[in-house]
C-alpha cells in the first residue's frame, strides 16, 4: 500500500512538473505569438522577469528600432568557460549599445541570458527552438561546429538569421543565405599559420591535433595543404583527443623526428599540458596554435610558453579603440578568467546585429539579412567584410608570449601582408 501511495505521489509530482513546464512555456508562447504589435509589452515582461540579471540590457524602445536577438552559448558542460565569456560579453555589449545614442537598440531574449546548449547537439536544437518561440529577429551562436551545424540546417529552413560565433567548419555558412559568421573559417587560419611559419623560416613541422573535433581537423588539413607551397615539410602528424591529458608519447616523437616547429590547433584547456609535455621532452622549437589558445592559463609555465605563438581575431595588446575599450571594460567588470576569443566573438556579434539593422534599415529578420549580406564591419576582431557565403575575410593577429603574458607580434592581412 505504501508503495502504491508513493507511486501515486511520484506520478502526480511528475505530472505537476510536466504541467508546470507546459504552463510556463505556454505563457511565453502566448506572449510571443501575439505578433509584433505586442513585441513591446513582451519585451517589458521579459525584462521585468529577468530584471536583476538583465540589468540595463532592458530595451527601452518598444518600436521597430529594437533588434530582438536570441543567444545560444554553452553555459554548462566541459566548455562552460566559453559560455561564461559569451554571457558576460553579450551583457556588456547590450548595455553599451542601449546606453549609447545608437538608432537601433538591442534586446537579448530569454531575459538577457544566453540559452544553454551544454555543447551538446541535442540540447542545442531544443535551445534554438525555444528561442524561436520568442519570435527573435536573429539568433547568435553557437561556438562549436558540431553543435552549430544542426541549428544552421534548421535556421536556413526557417529563414532565420543565424550568426555563428565560433563554428569554423566551412560547411556552416553553406547551409543557406541567412547563415553568417564572425569567426575565421578553418582553412583560413591553417593557411595563415603556414605562411607565418614560412615567414619565420621554419621548415620541418610537426602536427599534433585532436582527431575528434572539427576545428582541430580543419586547421590541420589546411595547414598540411598549404605546407608544401610554403616550403614546409610535415615530418610528423600525431592524433590526440580533445580530452587527452598525456602528450608525452607524441611529444617524444616530435623530438625524434627532428621538427623545429609544432602546430597544435586545439582548445585552451589542454594547451598548458601540451606545451609542458613538449618542453619536458626537450622540444625547444616554436609551438603554434589557433584562436582556441586564447585564454589558456600560463601560470607556472612562463618559461615553457616562450617561443609559442597563436593566431587570433584580436590581440589584447592592440591599441585600436574598439579592442582597448573591450579589453579594459571586460577585465574591469568580470576579471581576466573568461576573457577569450569566444567573448570577443559574441561581443562583436551583438554589434554586428545593430550594424546590420542600420544597413538594412529595419530590425526585422529580412532587413537584418539584407544589411548583413556582404557588410563591412569594424569591431574587436578588426575590420572585415563578409563574403558571398557569409564568411568574414579578416586580418589575423599573431600573438606570442612574453613571460606568460600574451604579446602582440604582428597582424597579417588576408592576402598575407604584414602590418
Amino acid at each position: 500500500m505504501k508503495k502504491r501511495m508513493l507511486s501515486v505521489a511520484l506520478s502526480a509530482a511528475m505530472v505537476a512538473t510536466l504541467l508546470a513546464g507546459c504552463g510556463s512555456s505556454a505563457q511565453q508562447s502566448a506572449a510571443g505569438g501575439a505578433a509584433t504589435a505586442a513585441a513591446g509589452s513582451t519585451a517589458a515582461e521579459t525584462t521585468a522577469a529577468g530584471g536583476a540579471a538583465g540589468g540595463s540590457t532592458a530595451a527601452p524602445a518598444s518600436d521597430d528600432k529594437t533588434v530582438r536577438v536570441g543567444v545560444i552559448c554553452s553555459l554548462t558542460g566541459g566548455s562552460a568557460i566559453y559560455g561564461e565569456g559569451a554571457q558576460n560579453a553579450i551583457t556588456m555589449a547590450a548595455e553599451e549599445i542601449n546606453a549609447s545614442d545608437s538608432e537601433y537598440k538591442v534586446e537579448i531574449l530569454n531575459g538577457g541570458k544566453g540559452v544553454d546548449d551544454a555543447s551538446d547537439a541535442k540540447q542545442a536544437i531544443n535551445a534554438y527552438n525555444s528561442l524561436m518561440a520568442e519570435d527573435p529577429s536573429a539568433i547568435i551562436g553557437c561556438f562549436f561546429s558540431s553543435v552549430t551545424l544542426p541549428i544552421a540546417e534548421q535556421a536556413s529552413k526557417d529563414n532565420m538569421l543565424l550568426l555563428a560565433t565560433g563554428a569554423t567548419n566551412k560547411d556552416v555558412t553553406l547551409k543557406g543565405g541567412t547563415i553568417f559568421r564572425d569567426c575565421f573559417i578553418d582553412p583560413y587560419q591553417g593557411k595563415m599559420a603556414a605562411s607565418f611559419a614560412k615567414e619565420k623560416g621554419w621548415t620541418k613541422a610537426a602536427i599534433i591535433y585532436a582527431k575528434d573535433d572539427d576545428y582541430s581537423n580543419g586547421l590541420k588539413d589546411a595547414f598540411v595543404e598549404n605546407a608544401e607551397a610554403n616550403g614546409i615539410e610535415v615530418v610528423y602528424t600525431g592524433e590526440c583527443t580533445t580530452k587527452d591529458t598525456d602528450f608525452t608519447a607524441q611529444a617524444s616523437q616530435v623530438v625524434a623526428n627532428g621538427a623545429d616547429f609544432l602546430f597544435y590547433p586545439c582548445f585552451l584547456d589542454t594547451v598548458p599540458l601540451l606545451v609542458g609535455a613538449a618542453r619536458d621532452a626537450g622540444f625547444d622549437g616554436a609551438i603554434m596554435g589557433g584562436d582556441g589558445w586564447d585564454g589558456a592559463d600560463t601560470s607556472g609555465l612562463e618559461d615553457s610558453f616562450a617561443n609559442c605563438y597563436f593566431t587570433n581575431h584580436y590581440s589584447s595588446e592592440d591599441t585600436a579603440p574598439a579592442v582597448a575599450n573591450f579589453v579594459s571594460k571586460y577585465t574591469k567588470a568580470y576579471g581576466e578568467d573568461s576573457l577569450n576569443a569566444c567573448a570577443a566573438l559574441y561581443y562583436d556579434a551583438i554589434y554586428m546585429m545593430v550594424e546590420a539593422a542600420k544597413n538594412g534599415g529595419g530590425a526585422d529578420t529580412a532587413s537584418l539579412v539584407k544589411g548583413m549580406t556582404e557588410m563591412t564591419f569594424t569591431g574587436v576582431g578588426g575590420t572585415f567584410t563578409l563574403d558571398g557565403n557569409g564568411d568574414p575575410e579578416k586580418s589575423v593577429a599573431i600573438n606570442t608570449y612574453d613571460n606568460g603574458k600574451v604579446k602582440w607580434l604582428m597582424t597579417l592581412s588576408p592576402s598575407g601582408e604584414q602590418s
Binding site: T76, G77, G78, S79, A80, I81, G83, E84, K211, G238, E239, C240, T241, K243, T245, D246, T248, A249, Q250, S252, Q253, A256, L268, D269, T270, P272, L273, G276, D280, A281, G282, G295, D297, T298, S299, G300, L301, D337, S338
Partner: protein, 296 residues
C-alpha cells in the same frame, strides 16, 4: 624505434601507469568491499585536485613544502566521500546494483556541475609540487617524479594490503562482501565498515590527485570522468577487488597507451579497450582474479 625513444617511452608509460594505478586502487577498494562501481571516484580526484590548487599557494606562503597540501586534500576528499556515501549511496544500498550505479553516475554529474559553480569553468594550472631533478638513466633523463609516483603507488598498495589482512577493521572489510548477514551476526557494524571504506577510498583519491597534478598540472571540473573510466578499466584488467591487481592493471594500461600512441595515436583508445576485451574473454575475472564457480 631508437633505443633512447624506447627507454623514454617506457619511463613515460610507467609514470602514466603509476597514476592510473593509484586511481584504480580507490576503485578496487570500494568495489572489493561493497561490490559497487563508484563512478564518482574520478570526481573525488577532481575535488582533491582543486583542493591542492587552492591550498598549495597557502602552504608556500607559510614556508612549508607544497606537497604537504595533500593532507588537507585527504581530509577534504574523505569528508566528501563519506558525505556522498551517507547522503546518496546509503539510502539506495538495498535496492540493488543498478540503482547504486545510477546514483553513482548522478553524483558524478552533480559533483562536476557543483565544481563548475564553485570554482568557475576556467581550467587552472596547479603550481609545481615537487622540484625533483632528473637523473641520467641509460642516456635518457629520468625524472625522479616517476620513481616517486611508483614508490608511492607501491607503498599505498602494500599499506592497504597490510591493513586489509592484519587489522580488525580490515578483516571486517573482507568479511562484509563474503556474507553480509553473517558478518552482522558476528557483530560487525556493516554501515560503519562501509563508511570507513569510502573514507579510505577517497583518501586514496586525494593521494592520486597529488601525483596526477604533479604530472599533469591542470585542473578542470570535468577532469574526473575520462580518467575515471580509464582507471576503472585498469582495475578490471588486473582483477577488480584485488589490490595488487589494480597496481598491475594500471601500469599495464599506462604502458599500452604510451606505446600505441607512439605509432598509431589515433587508435590508442581502441587498442586499450580491445586489450581489455581480449583479457576478459581469456580470463573473465581479470589477470589476477580467481575464477569462482557459481554455486547451484
Amino acid at each position: 624505434m631508437t633505443f633512447s625513444l624506447f627507454i623514454q617511452s617506457l619511463i613515460n608509460g610507467l609514470n602514466q601507469g603509476a597514476i592510473y594505478a593509484l586511481i584504480a586502487l580507490g576503485y578496487t577498494m570500494v568495489y572489493g568491499i561493497i561490490r559497487m562501481i563508484n563512478f564518482a571516484h574520478g570526481d573525488f580526484i577532481m575535488i582533491g585536485s582543486y583542493t591542492l590548487f587552492y591550498t598549495i599557494p597557502l602552504m608556500i606562503n607559510v614556508g612549508m613544502p607544497a606537497w604537504l597540501a595533500v593532507f588537507i586534500s585527504i581530509v577534504v576528499c574523505s569528508a566528501v566521500g563519506v558525505l556522498v556515501e551517507v547522503i546518496a549511496y546509503k539510502p539506495v544500498r538495498k535496492a540493488g546494483a543498478m540503482s547504486a550505479l545510477i546514483t553513482a553516475m548522478a553524483m558524478s554529474l552533480f559533483l562536476e556541475n557543483l565544481a563548475m559553480l564553485l570554482f568557475g569553468a576556467k581550467p587552472h594550472n596547479v603550481q609545481k609540487i615537487f622540484s625533483l631533478p632528473s637523473v641520467n638513466f641509460l642516456g635518457v633523463p629520468l625524472p625522479l617524479n616517476v620513481i616517486l609516483t611508483i614508490v608511492i603507488g607501491v607503498v599505498m598498495m602494500l599499506g592497504l594490503q597490510l591493513f586489509i589482512k592484519k587489522t580488525k577493521m580490515g578483516k571486517a572489510m573482507r568479511a562484509v562482501p563474503q556474507d553480509r548477514d553473517a558478518s552482522i551476526l558476528a557483530g560487525i557494524n556493516v554501515n560503519r565498515v562501509i563508511t570507513y571504506t569510502f573514507a579510505i577510498g577517497s583518501a586514496l583519491a586525494a593521494v592520486a590527485a597529488l601525483m596526477y597534478c604533479a604530472k599533469y598540472p591542470r585542473v578542470t571540473n570535468d577532469m574526473g570522468s575520462m580518467m575515471g573510466i580509464k582507471a576503472f578499466i585498469a582495475a578490471v584488467l588486473g582483477g577488480i577487488g584485488i589490490i595488487p591487481g589494480a597496481m598491475l592493471g594500471g601500469v599495464l594500461v599506462g604502458l599500452i597507451e604510451i606505446f600505441v600512441k607512439l605509432f598509431a595515436p589515433g587508435w590508442y583508445e581502441a587498442i586499450t579497450y580491445a586489450t581489455l576485451i581480449v583479457i576478459l574473454l581469456v580470463k573473465p575475472s581479470g589477470i589476477l582474479g580467481k575464477n569462482v564457480g557459481e554455486k547451484v
